[in-house]
Symmetry: C2
Amino acid sequence: MRERDVIKFLSERLPIGDDCAIISLKKTNLLLTTDMLHRQTDFPEGMTPYTMGWRAVAVSLSDIAAMGGKPLGVVIALGAPEFEKKFLEELLEGALACCEACETKLLGGDTDRHNELTIVTTALGEAQKPVLRSGARAEDLVCVTGDLGRTAAALELLKAKEYEQANALLRFTPRLREGQALGSLARSMIDISDGLARALYQLGEASHVGFKVDAMAIPFALEVEELARDQDEIFEMGLFVGEDFELLFTLPQERLLEARRVCEFTVIGRVVSAKEGITMQLGPESIVLPDRGYEH
Amino acid sequence: MRERDVIKFLSERLPIGDDCAIISLKKTNLLLTTDMLHRQTDFPEGMTPYTMGWRAVAVSLSDIAAMGGKPLGVVIALGAPEFEKKFLEELLEGALACCEACETKLLGGDTDRHNELTIVTTALGEAQKPVLRSGARAEDLVCVTGDLGRTAAALELLKAKEYEQANALLRFTPRLREGQALGSLARSMIDISDGLARALYQLGEASHVGFKVDAMAIPFALEVEELARDQDEIFEMGLFVGEDFELLFTLPQERLLEARRVCEFTVIGRVVSAKEGITMQLGPESIVLPDRGYEH
């Protein structure tokens, strides 16, 4: 089974459907999310242990952000062939630094000897009213925070042995502040983990809607425009790689100004009916965005 | 670094020291714990996928039990070389069955392609007043739930290809009911993950006390007595293997009757001062229990 089939299989049996599980407790909602990263897929050659620790934590906190949550803490499970002290020290430093940047705490963990480096982070968060993937409605605006393709650019830079710049790009800050600011305004939200295209399909499926985005409006990272040789490569890096963990959200048009006051973002299109599908306007042409993205 | 050194290293840098991390929220305490299991160490030949799923969940719920907590939910991260549908189905069935037996829910998860089967479960729980490892006082009674050595016996049965009996022994039920019942009575508590000896040392270190246990009082599982060839083997299987996840706790003497009314357990000795160390009375002899146990 491919990862997507496995997720489908699981989602038919578990209450999966958002970035975090939701647990109601004492008039609030707890958010719980777990992410598994490992050497072969997630830690390419040249990524420092500090960056690995940072990203492992950031990926889980991003899921909290995607539901408009405030983080309460993180735990980490670490498997490695053998624990080299310096490696562990740096990895932990990165994890702690990311927690600090996000005003939360690394609370504990587990270790296990393992033949491949594996990090599983679990974040706990809280939101009075979590933003779901399922709330988008036709005519809403479609928006993204930040810019897209930084991880794709970083992967190119790693290949070119531009390690420092690559690692800096890879240490993204989860959009917790933005997620919380948008919490009461956005009607649906998700973090872009496998590329914008995949995220649009995930949001569309959960909300039973389609999207029409404007290629000219999509904010690609400067590094993407520098590294890409043509427009196709820009799209490839910016739409189908992901791992930048920006927020994709939909907003009723009448909340736009209010949202602008609390958070920076870019409007990239609007919500349409499900039968119109997910398309991208490219000059005079409207193309159907393919449903593909990064598979772990 | 050995696992114990890694844990020491981490515990100097993180607020580790109990079975779960504690997060105060809205006049209660949330408990969060994560456990990593993988094929080579935790899933020996002959263990069924159903049992693997069961145990993965049970191990984390046991940490909630060890602090007197009530479970709120479980998430699971699953890495495997390739996901075979039948295997996944059975594993998930085991995980779901354990959740059901513990009156909690499997809320979601993550998957990742991995060259070795790896399961990381994270449990969330709640306790008004979590029981810590650090509360034991001299003269308290030392007690355990259930009996010891079932997993050690199961490992022997697996070697003898007695798969059915072995798997049944391996599917332990986390002591959540007992943990909650003892929550307001026990002064310190821990689950026995790496053997009674190791657990006594962990509790002793956290509480700055020693223990004097009576070998004749320790409840060894029937299967241990059947499989062991002599007294030494009984001790080996019952004291130094662990993975049975019974609760070890200390109780003020005056709470004994009250505790007996809410929960079944065995008094195995009493708390002494730290300088008396951790000893086991064996007939006329008092032997120092070695600080060793199962290392993952």
